[in-house]
């Protein structure tokens, strides 16, 4: 018996992107974006580089080169998410971080960065999706529609994650006081 399978979506085609220009304009920002989700700065650079490698290899480039920055952001976020999963396939690491280490107590952190360190530590205890939404919203100042497009979720879901993430962040910081 002959059997056949097929994968289906839209056709191939598009325009090549100017990788060097994209790198010049966005690489730094992408590394910084990764640094807000991944603690290892060296790994952040790798995530950004892998995003460019992925973009470089797209057959036919992008159908809309203007979306290249969004594509790169998505690639970095996906990479960060995958990194968390590979390091912590069972999700226990995050739970352990939340329950054992937890956000730094303000009086444990050093100098004037105490509060910032505590906020970042609390942020990293949130579910990854909430972290991503909060970073895109409060660091990149992306509108909800663009966050939704970057993460591949609905705008309503962005609002939900943002609201819940912010509330959880406030609660966790409050708990540590």
């Amino acid at each position: 018996m002959m059997v056949v399978v097929a994968a289906r979506s839209e056709g191939v085609g598009g325009e090549a992107v100017d990788l060097a220009a994209l790198h010049r304009d966005h690489y730094r920002s992408l590394v910084k974006l990764a640094s807000l989700l991944v603690t290892d700065v060296g790994r952040c650079e790798e995530l950004a580089q892998e995003a460019f490698v992925a973009l470089a290899g797209r057959p036919g480039g992008l159908r809309d080169p203007a979306k290249a920055p969004a594509y790169l952001r998505s690639a970095v976020l996906n990479g960060a998410r995958s990194l968390h999963r590979r390091k912590d396939p069972t999700g226990r690491l995050r739970a352990a971080t939340a329950t054992q280490a937890g956000p730094e107590r303000p009086d444990d952190a050093a100098g004037r960065h105490d509060d910032e360190a505590a906020v970042l530590a609390a942020l990293r205890t949130l579910p990854h999706r909430q972290q991503e939404v909060l970073v895109l919203r409060y660091w990149l100042d992306l509108p909800e529609s663009e966050i939704a497009a970057t993460l591949g979720i609905g705008a309503g879901t962005v609002k939900t994650h943002a609201a819940r993430g912010l509330a959880a962040l406030a609660d966790r910081l409050e708990d540590r006081r």
């Binding site: 002959m2 056949v4 490698v53 999700g91 910032e116």
Partner: protein, 468 residues
């Protein structure tokens, strides 16, 4: 009491900005990107060569897979809901060094021979793989038995190696008495892993990692070895994208003889022969089961684990430890002799229910859980190939996102993934492959579930089945 929202927003902005300001990437990023792209392409070429040199990627399906297609025995009827076992074996190509590699091109029906490998590859690219005629043949390493098919819109007179921004195909060739022949092809953009596939019901499941974005069309065909690929019409069905990592899940129907799997993205393609060989050396075993057991012999907890004197105690422990309900609330129960069914809500205020079936073993094991059902999800089959467990079923969840986990008897997570099913009230089919990342003592269970809004691994409903 939590602080004012404006305050936490301001603190978050300040913290993110401070962290980002403190990070300054090295200046050699673009050079590193170039090196990574080159290294990636070189690695792919090496894999392609190894794959071709390995002669044949063989997935040997023992008679069980084919019995499923034509078996009239009601005991092996998957649809009947019984427990079915199918064993498959995979051979290591290197274990049979004398095997002659199957020839993909030229077809046996063609009265043609090729004096030059480039001619064979060029004709193979367009005549067999169906690639765009703009592909050009390159032979960067005449000693390695492969040539490259490179898309070249500028024309084949323009020399050069593959552009890392485009896909290309590495084609394995051999010189035979009848002339140059093609024995395999590997796309630089498609990583096809039949070894990670599994038999699910009567289907072969194969993973394809496409480095191309999801909007790039993939097509796949499974023609008989020696037949025109076009004779195997593409059916636009049975493929499930597994997520943003570019992995596609091809569900192939079983074939009844030597066949070739061809996966193409239009400008590059992978073509590998599949050989049915029931005498192959087994290195992996796949077993398929449908639904949970019904006699308690393999139910939860395992034989060396805890003992429960009552169905409620067993069920309460199960929904809390294994299913991960945050505040399991008993909604109702029916106990008839040695059988029981208890319904739970994940929280007191929730309306959705999950039913837990139990059986009194009458031995020192006491009550055990034999199955879990919910109106929002069903498991049709579970199959294991090595560390990979393939689960099929249908489900409905918020944003269609269904979580799939492997658990041990204590509820420890051994592996997890997510898959897409239905996002409305209607259940829609899914197929997921989840890898067991950690060893387990005792039985392993697969759970499909819908996470609640916390995102912390607690669930609204769950369905559970034993992994064979």
């Amino acid at each position: 009491m939590s602080e004012h929202p404006d305050d936490i927003e301001a603190r978050l902005r300040a913290a993110l900005a401070a962290r980002a300001d403190a990070v300054e990437p090295a200046a050699d990023g673009i050079e590193v990107v170039g090196r990574m792209a080159a290294a990636r392409d070189a690695a792919r070429r090496r894999r392609a060569v190894l794959s071709a040199a390995a002669a044949v990627v063989v997935i040997a399906l023992l008679a069980g897979a084919f019995l499923l297609l034509g078996d009239d025995d009601p005991d092996t009827d998957v649809a009947a809901g019984g427990s079915t076992t199918v064993t498959t074996s995979t051979t290591v190509p290197g274990s049979a060094p004398d095997v002659t590699r199957p020839v993909l091109w030229p077809l046996p029906t063609m009265s043609i021979s090729y004096a030059e490998p480039a001619d064979a590859v060029a004709a193979f690219g367009t005549g067999y793989l169906g690639l765009d005629p703009s592909v050009c043949v390159r032979d960067p390493d005449p000693e390695d038995g492969t040539l490259l098919l490179i898309p070249s819109p500028e024309g084949c007179s323009v020399d050069g190696g593959p552009d890392p921004r485009t896909a290309f195909t590495t084609v394995a060739v051999e010189r035979r008495p009848e002339g140059w022949v093609v024995t395999g092809a590997e796309s630089s953009w498609l990583e096809v892993t039949p070894a990670a596939g599994a038999v699910v019901g009567a289907d072969i499941v194969v993973d394809v990692v496409s480095l191309a974005p999801p909007e790039v069309a993939l097509t796949a065909r499974v023609p008989a070895l020696g037949a025109e690929p076009a004779s195997a019409p593409a059916v636009d069905t049975s493929i499930v994208p597994l997520g943003a990592d570019g992995t596609w899940h091809l569900v192939l129907g079983a074939a009844d003889g030597p066949t070739v799997l061809i996966v193409s993205n239009g400008i590059s393609a992978t073509a590998r022969p599949f050989t049915v060989d029931s005498t192959a050396v087994p290195v992996a075993t796949t077993t398929t089961t449908t639904g949970p057991t019904d006699d308690g012999t393999q139910g939860w907890p395992g034989p060396t684990s805890r003992h429960f004197d009552s169905p409620e105690a067993a069920a309460q422990a199960f929904v809390a430890d294994v299913l991960g309900f945050a505040e399991p609330t008993l909604a109702g129960q029916v106990v008839e002799g040695t059988e029981a069914e208890l319904r739970f809500r994940p929280r007191p205020a929730a309306s959705i229910e999950t039913a837990v079936a139990l059986h009194d073993t009458g031995s020192d094991r006491g009550w055990v859980v034999t199955g879990v059902t919910a109106t929002s999800g069903e498991i049709d089959s579970v199959a294991r190939t090595g560390d990979d467990v393939t689960v099929t079923g249908s489900a409905s969840a918020f944003e269609a996102l269904v979580q799939v986990r492997l658990l041990d008897v204590a509820g420890n997570v051994l592996g997890e993934t997510t898959t897409m099913a239905g996002g409305t009230e209607a259940l829609e089919p899914f197929t997921a492959v989840v890898r067991q990342e950690a060893a387990a003592e005792g039985p392993v269970y697969v759970q499909i579930a819908e996470g609640d809004e916390s995102g912390e691994g607690t669930y609204l409903w769950a369905v559970w089945a034993l992994v064979p």
